[in-house]
C-alpha cells in the first residue's frame, strides 16, 4: 500500500480542515501543509502546466490538480519563467526527472511517432479498404446476371417479399 493520488491529496487538504479548528469534524491523518499562500500564477504557468501530467493523480494535468506535487510543479514553472527559461526548457526539466511520461503530448519520435501518424494511417487504411470495395462493386456491376446463384435469388426474393408485407 502506498499513498497516492486522491489519498495524499485528500490527506493534504483534510488537514487544513483540522487546522481550521472551526470544524472539529476530523480525526484524521492529516497532511499538514504550511499555512502559506501559494504563489500568484500567470496564465502562462497554466498553459505550460496543462501539458504536464500530475504524477500522483489519476489522469489530471499539473494545471488542474490540487495535489501537493502539482502545486509545487506550478511553483517551479512560475519560478523558472521568472528566471527567463523557455517553455521547452521547463518541459525538459520535468522530462529529465520523470521521463516522457510526464508530457501529455507524446514526443514525435520512436514508438510514439506512430500516434502522430495515426490520422494518416487511419485514413490510408480506410481509403485502401474503400478502394478495394469500390473496385469490387464495379466488377460486380459488370458481371453478367446469370452468375447469380439460384440460392441467392431465392433469398433476395424472400427479402423483398417480407419488406412488402411488413
Amino acid at each position: 500500500m502506498r499513498v497516492r493520488g486522491t489519498d495524499s491529496r485528500g490527506a493534504a487538504l483534510w488537514n487544513r480542515l483540522l487546522a481550521l479548528g472551526l470544524w472539529l469534524l476530523a480525526i484524521a491523518l492529516a497532511q499538514p501543509t504550511p499555512n502559506t499562500p501559494p504563489p500568484d500564477l500567470s496564465p502562462r504557468v497554466f498553459e505550460i502546466a496543462r501539458a504536464l501530467r500530475c504524477p500522483v493523480c489519476q489522469g489530471e494535468s499539473a494545471a488542474e490538480s490540487n495535489a501537493g506535487i502539482a502545486v509545487e510543479m506550478r511553483r517551479i514553472i512560475a519560478e523558472q519563467l521568472a528566471e527567463g527559461k523557455s517553455e521547452a526548457e521547463i518541459r525538459q526539466f520535468f522530462v529529465q526527472r520523470y521521463g516522457d511520461w510526464i508530457l501529455y503530448e507524446p514526443p514525435a519520435r520512436g514508438l510514439t511517432l506512430w500516434v502522430w501518424l495515426s490520422p494518416l494511417i487511419g485514413l490510408g487504411l480506410l481509403s485502401f479498404g474503400l478502394w478495394r470495395y469500390l473496385s469490387r462493386v464495379k466488377a460486380q456491376a459488370k458481371a453478367p446476371l446469370n452468375d447469380v446463384s439460384e440460392e441467392e435469388i431465392t433469398r433476395l426474393e424472400a427479402e423483398l417479399n417480407t419488406e412488402r408485407s411488413s
Partner: protein
C-alpha cells in the same frame, strides 16, 4: 420481505428469464417455429419486470437506509438528501450495472414488439437472441461477481456515503442515465445487424436500424454534452473535455454511430455500402463494451474509473465475444454480399462516403491514442502519456475536413450535379472566405478565423437549401413562403431535422474553437478586502467563512466582481467560491462559481485559504469565451434529433418507437 431479498430474488429471476429467452429464441431459429418466438417475446416482458423490480428494490433499500444491503452500506448515507439517494443506484459499480441491465431489458422488450412486423421469423429470433445473450451477461455479472444485494451481517449505523463528485451537481443525476441509454441503445442496431447477417438478408435491415441508431445516437449526444457540462461546472479546471480515456470511450461509439447514420442513407437509397454498414454498427456496439471495460477494469488510468475488481475480466471476455461474433459474421458476409452499382464521387453519396471515411479515421485515432500507452509499455516497458494536447491538435485537421464535407454533402444531389449546385457551392466558398477574413480583421488566430469561416459556410449551405426548397414550393403551388416552409418542414422531417443537427454541430465547432483558443487562467492570493484587476474585471475578496451543510462542510469565500471593461461584460455580482469537504472522502472539492454571459464566461475557484487566521484566500479565475453557446449547440443537436424522431403518424416504424424517442 426486505429490499435485499426482493432485489436478490428478482436478479436471479431476471438471469433465469434471460437464459430461457436465449434458449427459446435459439429454438425458434433452429426449428423455425413461431410459437417459441411468441414465448420468447413474453419472456422479454417478464425480464423487464424482474429487472425493474430489482432496480426498485435497490431504490427502496437506499431510500429506507437499509444498511444490511451491501450496496447501500458502501455507497449511501442516511444523511444524503432525497435527490442524492434517488440517483445513488448509478453512483457505483454494482448499481450502474443494474441500471444498465434494466435498460437492456427495456430495449429488448421494445424490440420484441417489432417481431412479426419488420422482424420476420427469420430475423426476429436472432435479434432477440442476441439481446437476450447481452442480458444474460449483465445479470450473470451481477449474480456472480458484482452483487448489489449482498447481505451485510452486522449492518453499520450509517453507510460510507456517496461519491461526492456525483453529489455536487444535479447533472450527475442525468448524465449517466443518458449515457447508458445511448450505450445500451446501440445494442439494438447491433442485434438487427447480427440478425441480418445470420439470416443473410443484407438490405432491408437498414431502414429500421437507422431509427434505432438515431435514438441511441441522440441519447449519446445528450450524454456527451451533459458530461461536458458536468465536467465544466464541477471539476473546477475550466475545461469541458479532457480526452481522458473514459471520455474517449464515449466518443468512439458516437463517431462510429455517426458514420453509420450517414452511410446507411446510401444503402437505403442505392443499396450500396452494405458491408461497411455492418462493420460500422458492429464496431459501434463493440466500442460501447470497450468503454465499459475500460471504466471497470483499471487497465488504463482515468479520473472516471470505477473501483476495479474482478468484473474487469468478465467485461474483457464479453468484449472479445462481441468482437469475435461481430467480426466473424462480417468476414463471412463480406465475401457474399452483392453490391452492384456505381459510386459517383461528385454526388451526395460521394460526400457521405468521404464523411464516413473521416469519422472512421477519427475513431481510429482515438482508439489508437487511448491504447497506445499500453502498447508502448508492452513493447519497451516505458510509460508514455497520450493526452489532451495531442488529441486537440489532431482533431483540428480532421474537424476541418468534416465541417467542409458537412456543408457540401446535403447540397450535392444524389444524381449528377447541376448548375444550381455549382452556384450554391460558390456561395458557400465565398462565405468561407469572407468569414475567415473577418476573423483575421478582428485579429483572431488562424484556427478561430477558419472556424468562423466554416460556420458561415455551413450556415450558408443550410440557408440556401431551405430557401431554395421553400421558394420553389411557394412558386409552384402559389402559396406563401411561410406556409411552404411549414409544409416542407413537416413533410421532410428527416431533411429538416438534419439541417438543425448540422447547424448545432457547426455552432459547437465554432464555440470549441473559441473556447479552446482563448481560455485565460490566472491565480492570485488576496487578503480580505483586497481587489484584483484582471481580464476586464475587478475582484474583491469579502470574507472567509465556514459552514456546515447536510452532509458536508464548506469553506466559503464570498467575492464581489465588477466589470471594468467590455470583456467583463455580464460578470458583475457577488459570488460565493467554496471548497466542499465530504467526510467519506479525504479530498475536498472545489466547486467553481460559473457566471455565463453571451461572450465571456467567468469562472472562479477557491484554491486555498488561510486556515489559521482566515486572512487570505487564493483564487483562480478562468475566463473562457462562448462556453454558454456550446450548451446551446448541444441542445440544438438533441432537439434536431428529436425532431427527426418525433412520430408523424404516417410512419409505422417511428410510431412504434415513440416510447423511447419521446423520452
Amino acid at each position: 420481505m426486505t429490499p435485499g431479498l426482493l432485489g436478490g430474488v428478482s436478479l436471479v429471476a431476471a438471469l433465469i428469464l434471460s437464459v430461457l429467452g436465449l434458449v427459446l429464441s435459439s429454438l425458434a431459429f433452429v426449428l423455425r417455429d413461431g410459437r417459441y418466438l411468441e414465448a420468447a417475446k413474453r419472456l422479454s416482458a417478464l425480464g423487464l419486470l424482474a429487472a425493474v423490480l430489482s432496480f426498485g428494490a435497490l431504490e427502496w433499500a437506499i431510500l429506507t437506509d437499509d444498511f444490511s444491503v451491501s450496496y447501500v452500506a458502501n455507497h449511501s448515507s442516511a444523511n444524503n438528501p432525497l435527490w442524492v439517494k434517488l440517483v445513488t443506484p448509478w453512483a457505483a459499480l454494482e448499481g450502474s450495472i443494474l441500471l444498465w441491465a434494466m435498460l437492456q431489458t427495456a430495449y429488448t422488450w421494445l424490440v420484441s414488439l417489432r417481431a412479426g412486423y419488420s422482424l420476420d421469423i427469420w430475423r426476429a429470433p436472432v435479434a432477440l437472441g442476441t439481446l437476450f445473450a447481452v442480458q444474460v451477461f449483465f445479470f450473470a455479472v451481477m449474480v456472480f461477481v458484482a452483487h448489489p444485494f449482498d447481505a451485510v451481517p452486522n449492518p453499520p449505523p450509517d453507510g460510507r456515503g456517496t461519491n461526492p463528485l456525483l453529489q455536487n451537481h444535479w447533472m450527475m443525476a442525468v448524465h449517466p442515465v443518458l449515457m447508458y441509454l445511448g450505450f445500451v441503445g446501440l445494442s439494438v442496431p447491433f442485434a438487427y445487424a447480427v440478425a441480418a447477417m445470420v439470416a443473410r438478408r443484407y438490405q432491408s435491415w437498414i431502414f429500421e436500424t437507422r431509427w434505432w441508431t438515431l435514438v441511441a445516437w441522440g441519447f449519446l449526444t445528450a450524454a456527451i454534452f451533459t458530461g461536458k457540462w458536468w465536467s465544466y461546472e464541477i471539476l473546477g479546471w475550466g475545461g469541458y473535455w479532457a480526452w481522458d480515456p473514459v471520455e474517449n470511450a464515449s466518443i468512439i461509439p458516437w463517431l462510429l454511430a455517426t458514420a453509420f447514420l450517414h452511410t446507411a442513407q446510401v444503402q437505403e437509397r442505392k443499396g450500396l455500402f452494405k458491408g461497411w454498414n455492418f462493420a460500422f454498427i458492429t464496431l459501434a456496439f463493440a466500442a460501447t463494451v470497450f468503454g465499459t471495460f475500460l471504466t471497470r477494469s483499471g487497465v488504463i488510468q482515468s479520473v472516471h474509473a470505477f473501483a476495479s475488481g474482478p468484473v474487469g475480466a468478465w467485461f474483457l471476455l464479453f468484449l472479445l465475444a462481441v468482437m469475435a461474433g461481430g467480426l466473424g459474421l462480417l468476414a463471412r458476409v463480406s465475401s457474399e454480399i452483392r453490391e452492384a452499382g456505381e459510386v459517383r464521387w461528385k454526388s451526395r453519396e460521394g460526400a457521405l462516403l468521404a464523411g464516413a471515411l473521416f469519422f472512421g479515421t477519427f475513431a481510429f485515432v482515438v482508439v489508437l491514442g487511448t491504447l497506445w500507452p499500453l502498447v508502448v509499455e508492452i513493447a519497451s516497458g516505458a510509460k508514455v502519456s497520450v493526452g489532451a494536447p495531442f488529441f486537440n491538435q489532431v482533431s483540428i485537421p480532421l474537424g476541418i475536413f468534416m465541417l467542409l464535407l458537412m456543408g457540401i454533402g446535403p447540397v450535392l444531389p444524389w444524381r449528377n450535379s447541376s448548375a444550381q449546385v455549382l452556384r450554391n457551392l460558390t456561395a458557400m466558398l465565398i462565405a468561407l472566405g469572407v468569414g475567415t477574413l473577418l476573423g483575421f480583421v478582428l485579429g483572431l488566430s488562424l484556427g478561430v478565423s477558419l472556424a468562423i469561416g466554416l460556420f458561415a459556410y455551413n450556415l450558408t449551405a443550410i440557408w440556401l437549401m431551405v430557401a431554395q426548397g421553400v421558394g420553389e414550393r411557394a412558386r409552384s403551388l402559389g402559396i406563401s413562403p411561410t406556409q411552404a416552409l411549414m409544409e416542407l418542414a413537416t413533410s421532410h422531417k428527416r431533411r429538416f431535422g438534419s439541417h438543425i443537427v448540422h447547424f448545432g454541430v457547426a455552432l459547437a465547432a465554432l464555440t470549441i474553437a473559441f473556447s479552446q483558443t482563448y481560455r485565460f487562467t490566472e491565480q492570485k492570493t488576496l487578503q480580505i478586502g483586497e481587489t484584483w484587476q484582471t481580464r476586464g474585471v475587478e475582484v474583491r475578496l469579502l470574507s472567509i467563512g465556514a459552514r456546515q451543510e447536510y452532509n458536508r462542510f464548506a469553506a466559503v469565500a464570498p467575492i464581489e466582481v465588477r466589470s471594468t471593461g467590455r470583456e467583463g461584460w455580464g460578470s458583475d455580482g457577488r459570488y460565493e467560491t467554496r471548497l466542499n469537504f465530504y467526510p467519506q472522502m479525504g479530498s475536498p472539492l472545489a466547486t467553481p462559481v460559473v457566471k455565463y454571459s453571451l461572450y465571456n464566461d467567468y469562472y472562479f475557484v477557491l484554491m486555498q485559504f488561510d486556515q489559521e487566521n482566515g486572512q487570505w484566500a487564493t483564487l483562480k479565475i478562468i475566463v473562457t469565451p462562448m462556453v454558454w453557446w456550446l450548451w446551446v449547440a448541444g441542445l440544438i443537436i438533441v432537439l434536431g434529433t428529436l425532431y427527426i424522431l418525433w412520430p408523424s403518424g404516417a410512419r409505422v416504424s417511428s410510431r412504434q418507437m415513440s416510447p423511447t424517442a419521446g423520452d
